[in-house]
């Protein structure tokens, strides 16, 4: 039970290496659902560090134009830097092409931007939502280095494991005796699912709570809704 004393010589103090961890996990959750003629994207506003709350209102979903909203979950410093960078690039696109950037074009640019920092990544899990050229809702899900795919529903962030299976069942009708290609949900039903997803995630995930901002994107523009969540 007792170890024998070490007989190894004590090393003389030599060159030392100091390291700073450039990342932090600020928590939070985002959810997006695409419909026939709309896209909904929602993110909670709690920003935390370990057991501390840094802010009860630090929005994670950024409206980049009249047709696109991006939600960035993970390291808040990289989230704001990325949103700001995208916003600047979209303005340059507008001047160069004399038209606003469409959501699918922005989707590709976001992927390229993320891969541009492949060896010092943006520590964020992104979801981009908007309407495509046909007016159909579209959402794109990203990993931190730019791999992306178009989906009809997706969750991200600290509550992803709690919400994604719920969405798979209620939006995609998975694991139920239903038809293979599920119909698009009406807007009211999708909104109700998103709200319930957040109240439920707030119960069981300590990093999700305070307030949720829900963006509804249609061909007519972007509408923002806010709801309170539990603050404990």
């Amino acid at each position: 039970m007792y170890s024998t004393p070490s007989t190894a010589p004590i090393a003389a103090a030599g060159p030392m290496q100091r390291r700073v961890d450039p990342y932090a996990d600020n928590g939070g959750t985002a959810v997006a659902i695409a419909g026939e003629d709309y896209a909904i994207i929602a993110a909670d506003t709690r920003q935390s560090d370990g057991y501390l709350i840094n802010s009860r209102y630090a929005p994670k979903a950024f409206q980049l134009s009249d047709s696109s909203v991006v939600a960035c979950c993970g390291f808040y410093g990289d989230a704001t830097a990325l949103a700001s960078h995208l916003s600047q690039r979209m303005e340059q696109y507008q001047y160069a092409h004399d038209k606003p950037m469409s959501t699918p074009a922005l989707a590709q640019m976001l992927s390229n931007t993320l891969y541009g920092k492949r060896f010092f990544p943006y520590y964020v899990h992104n979801i981009l939502a908007g309407v495509d050229a046909d007016g159909k809702g579209c959402i794109f899900n990203y990993d931190p280095v730019g791999s992306f795919e178009r989906y009809r529903w997706q969750a991200a962030g600290s509550g992803v494991a709690l919400i994604q299976p719920f969405l798979d069942n209620q939006v995609g009708f998975k694991n139920m005796a239903q038809e293979a290609n599920p119909p698009f949900l009406p807007l009211e039903k999708a909104l109700q699912l998103v709200k319930d997803a957040f109240t439920s995630a707030t119960e069981r995930d300590i990093y999700t709570g305070d307030q949720v901002e829900i963006f509804v994107i249609t061909k007519n523009g972007v509408e923002k809704l806010s709801y309170d969540l539990k603050k404990d």
Binding site: L193, E203, R204
Partner: protein, 274 residues
């Protein structure tokens, strides 16, 4: 020379404390990538306050497993004796078993002595056990009670140190709670003032510490008796669910059906019974 394993020792000669026989095996497993199982911690805000006529203990009710809430309404104020209760923070299993063990030992002690147990006795039993395990038993406790010496409040740390104080806080929310204590505690408070102070201190932990949450439990101990105010405050009722998520019959597809008879039914005359 024959090797003797620890189990072959007679019970009286067996050394106490933990057996470290699995240490080598655990190291080999983790070096091969097996995940070490994590114990449930309570996160927690617990407080205790001495007032004019007794002691008030308070606790939140959230139990966490990492970032997930494992229990939204667990009980962190444990019974020790008719005149003593103990709040527990740290590893949930450790606080539960430690308080049960000492409560049991105290009851035997009470029967042997024929007297009401003293708070210092419980404190001594707890600290000696925790020190023996060198901090491996992750129990941070706030012990409060009333005995012949009057109302007393102790904080006990996992390594076995104790402090006798008029107000204490422990757990991940202890800083939030202590800020309330330092602002508002005064000596010789009245009962309701003490309860309000404890309630506010726990709420500070519930709302400002992510490891604490849900409801406020309060226990008031006086020489006359104990008031267990379970869920004294419930400031975190669940948000109303908007949708109805019942499943219709037939939602889960039946792929195969197999019915076996356990008995064979045969028509015949009734059995003769003696």
């Amino acid at each position: 020379m024959a090797t003797t394993s620890i189990d072959s020792f007679p019970a009286t000669a067996r050394p106490g404390g933990f057996s470290f026989e699995l240490h080598t095996r655990n190291q080999v497993l983790s070096s091969r990538g097996a995940a070490v199982p994590r114990a449930t911690k309570t996160g927690t805000t617990i407080v205790g306050v001495v007032y004019k006529h007794g002691v008030v203990l308070g606790a939140d009710t959230r139990a966490t497993e990492g970032p997930i809430v494992a229990d939204k309404n667990c009980e962190k104020i444990h019974y020790i004796a008719p005149n003593m209760y103990c709040c527990g923070a740290g590893t949930a299993a450790d606080t539960e078993f430690t308080t049960n063990l000492i409560s049991s030992q105290l009851e035997l002690h009470r029967l042997a002595t024929g007297r009401q147990a003293r708070v210092v006795t419980a404190m001594t039993l707890l600290k000696q056990m925790l020190f023996k395990y060198q901090g491996q038993v992750g129990a941070a406790l706030i012990l409060g009670g009333c005995d012949v010496e009057g109302p007393q409040l102790f904080s006990i740390h996992p390594h076995g140190s104790t402090d006798k104080l008029p107000y204490v806080t422990m757990g991940s929310g202890s800083l939030a709670a202590m800020s309330i204590m330092e602002a508002k505690w005064t000596p010789d408070m009245e009962r309701q003032d003490a309860i309000d102070l404890v309630d506010n201190a726990i709420r500070a932990g519930i709302f400002n510490d992510l490891g604490s949450g849900s409801n406020v439990d309060v226990t008031v101990i006086t020489p006359e008796g104990v008031d267990v105010l379970r869920n004294y405050a419930t400031p975190n009722e669940r948000g109303v669910r908007e949708g109805v998520y019942d499943y219709a019959r037939g939602t889960t597809k039946v792929l195969t059906e197999s019915i076996r008879s356990l008995v064979e039914v045969v028509d015949g005359d009734a059995m003769e019974v003696e």
